[in-house]
Symmetry: C2
Subunit: 506 residues, 2 copies
């Protein structure tokens, strides 16, 4: 076993990390572009339309054009988009930070609504997009797509990217809306990845009731086991740091241990074929709720900002990467024969995204409102439109899943697969740029709070997500802090919904 790995990493280390001068050149360019994105994002902060994602995407596209011109149309990217690089290195800090910075009080107060939107809603959206694609794509002659491909398309286009909207919403003014959009975004990511993995690992050639039940059982098992693993990893880190009294001498050891244990939970989850994204999200929540209270003051400041910075850089990295990769010639070759067909496919997918989301946001909001008594807890129509809009953007998760399904190690050989990849790129670019640019004005029209406009002019909302979440909410509920030993006992012996209830009722 170790033999394979060693020879494997030997070859790849040799290739990837060779002191080859060209690879040093591209690393330089990439790091310099990251710096440029941060600088430009900062300078454009006052702008009414822009945000960091669009800036990075634009810089990526421009660089792609320049590389395309200098190489004589041969290549447009410095690095090939790899879903493994994405899932192993870039996604964990983003999702962990989301869990770490979430205002837990709001999150767990609206837990049921969030889960309904994130899990049930994503399933509805998935069903509509899959069925819609099956229905419409038959009419085009775009090559052979299997049933697994259609289901994968549903999962791919159910993964939303709500970063743009979160940058505009104000957590203090519209706490309900913010926590709904934020929470739904994370649960939605996890749900689509779990769905996608479930689809890939199942033999879908003959579906019957038993396989369908097995599929649902598998889905629930993944959900529960992943959450438990994340919670256990978080509690273990809290226990170890408290018991061994790490902060006595060293802030660095505490910080290192937190980072390493969070990452360990992620790859352990990968090891057991669970949903690593859910694991690390819950690990982040538990760490910010327990571990964070057991470390020194400077560790608290450090971890809070380190996690936010890592997430911030990873996000920019992804958008830069996507922007550069969008112009890859190889993928567009198949499309150039029939541009009309490609535009049609992209338009249909975009329409399905719009319909698929509307099909669950408004009905589920109606159902949720029935369960609420106080009018302030109900979701107003304007808020429903905002929620609907917030999930229209498609981002890096969709890209990564599409690459995973439709390419073999970065290459697209089949005509149908190439069209699916370019359509995904088109939908991601269009939704991020067009819908993204419209978000700020739209939210301003829908939620015209005077304070909100004021803070918008002072450009506060367009700062990165981690800033929009000004402080960890831990300070708020420190009174309900429960002795960790008891909690460990409580949590390990309770099931997934037990955990949720314990959080929810606190």
């Amino acid at each position: 076993m170790a033999v394979d790995v060693s020879s494997l990493s030997e070859r790849s280390v040799e290739m990837l990390m060779t002191s080859d001068h060209t690879s040093v050149v591209s690393m330089n360019l990439f790091v310099a572009l990251l710096c440029a994105c941060i600088l430009l994002g900062h300078l454009l902060e006052e702008s009414r339309w822009m945000n960091e994602s669009i800036t990075a995407l634009a810089i990526g596209l421009c660089t792609g054009v320049i590389i395309l011109l200098t190489t004589g149309g041969k290549s447009s990217h410095l690095l090939v988009f790899s879903e493994d690089l994405f899932f192993i290195y870039l996604l964990p800090p983003i999702i962990f930070n989301a869990g770490f910075q979430v205002k837990k009080k709001q999150f767990f107060r609206n837990f049921m609504t969030i889960m309904t939107f994130g899990a049930v809603g994503t399933l509805i959206s998935f069903a509509i997009i899959s069925l819609g694609a099956m229905h419409f794509f038959h009419k085009f002659n775009i090559g052979s797509l299997k049933i697994g491909d259609y289901l994968a398309l549903g999962a791919i286009f159910s993964a939303t990217d709500s970063v743009c909207t979160l940058q505009v919403l104000n957590q203090d003014e519209t706490p309900l809306l913010y926590s709904l959009v934020f929470g739904e975004g994370v649960v939605n990511d996890a749900t689509s990845v779990v769905l996608f993995n479930a689809i890939q690992s199942f033999d879908l050639s003959h579906i019957n009731t038993s396989t369908a039940l097995q599929f649902i059982g598998n889905f629930l098992y993944l959900f529960a086991a992943s959450t438990i693993l994340g919670v256990v990893a978080g509690l273990l880190s809290a226990y170890v740091i408290k018991k061994l009294y790490f902060g006595r001498h060293s802030t660095d050891r505490e910080v290192a241990l937190m980072i390493l244990m969070a990452y360990l939970s992620y790859i352990l989850s990968e090891l057991f074929y669970l949903s690593a994204i859910l694991t690390v999200f819950f690990c982040g929540i538990v760490m910010s709720h327990y571990t964070w209270h057991n470390v020194t003051e400077s560790s608290r400041v450090t971890t809070k900002h380190t996690f936010a910075t890592l997430s911030f850089v990873a996000e920019i990295f992804i958008f830069l990467y996507v922007g550069m990769d969008a112009l890859d010639i190889e993928k567009w070759r198949f499309v150039s024969d029939s541009p009309g067909k490609s535009i049609a496919v992209s338009s249909i997918l975009l329409a399905l995204v719009l319909v698929g989301r509307a099909a669950f946001v408004f009905p589920l909001s109606f159902l949720t409102n029935l369960t609420k008594k106080s009018p302030s807890d109900k979701i107003s129509l304007k808020q429903q439109v905002t929620i609907w809009w917030a999930g229209l953007m498609r981002g890096s998760v969709s890209m990564a899943l599409a690459y995973n399904q439709f390419t073999r190690s970065g290459h697209t050989d089949l005509r149908a697969n190439a069209i699916m990849i370019t359509s995904t790129i088109t939908v991601v670019l269009f939704s991020t740029v067009v819908f993204g640019l419209m978000t700020k004005p739209l939210v301003r029209i829908l939620l015209p709070s005077s304070k909100h406009i004021g803070s918008m002019i002072s450009s506060e909302p367009s700062s990165p997500k981690s800033i929009t979440v000004p402080l960890l909410s831990n300070g708020q509920d420190s009174e309900v802090w429960i002795e960790i030993g008891f909690s460990v006992h409580l949590f390990i012996h309770s099931r997934i919904w037990g955990v949720v209830t314990a959080f929810y009722t606190r």
Copy 2:
């Protein structure tokens, strides 16, 4: 150009980052081992003998044995030691942090002494080890070593690893000694890497006066250009962060920009074939002196601890890696025919290390003492012995350089090369473990300060390096803070020694 890179990274990404289950297993094991090292290091902190490096080395060796047994003697490591991984990802944070955390007042007060020891001393040690190896190795029949190999051996075994000693020395009690050992360690690392690169890039088959002069000129150019690049990168980051007033909204952007610009200076230096290690060291110094004063309070806490944590984890990673790789079967195959010869070679190298260091520490201390007037500034004999001892350990830089010189992508085919690799491993392990274990007792005998022993019992000194440097020294010289605009002008227009003098006289 970009085409090569893309196809290159495509293949390697495919191999390295494949979702292959075995690679996930080894990643899990590696991260878990890192956690174990931190935990054990913390628990063994009170111990009289141990330190974190030795703990990591021991855990690495134990894991190597276990893997060796489970794979039936086929392999001992999870990852193959790659000098590129080391130089591109692990070394930069360690060296940057060294520059960032150094007490600049002490460092620049003793600048000439440090440079004398670090640069001239390393050259003396290099000459003695190279000549000694040439003299003695001819007698053994160990295969063909060229003159370049002998010179490389000199550079390899001139690179010291003073981490063990620094963990024991107390910066507040013996500031002179601490800054000498610390500063010499960094300059020594840089000098040996610069020397090594100069040797590799020169045609050494026929040496005459002109090539020797060219060699020296090249060495000085590398030294000066690398330093200037680091200083400029640091000043640029300070200027950008101050002018654009980043902290206004976002701590994370400041932190991200500092990390990215520091890394950019490192790879830019690689790009121009300079000494990246020197560049990033001076970038760290300038960043802690200028940039650090222009960021928000939380950015200061965050950067200080983040850099220390990164450096800490990278150090443990390296020792774990070296420990695991030490048992690699392939390398020991050649040696098993003639164990006596291998022991003889290792012993000679170890003796040359001892002699080579003695040959410059005592004479140079004598010369330095001649220039000092106050007795407190002079280096006492006991301190000289401590300095000599502090540089006897050989560590990861030696390993990385040896792999670079004597292997082709992790494999050792030639008999002579295999013996050189195993001898390097032997010297590194022996010096780190045996000399490392003796450091604490030795320093206690040589420098028996009552307060020092007191703090030693409370286990303060054995905390990691970053803790032994309790706070950045910036607070001390904030009064002499000079307007950044002027400084930029001053620095860019002055030459390397001008920069040094500006620092020194401040």
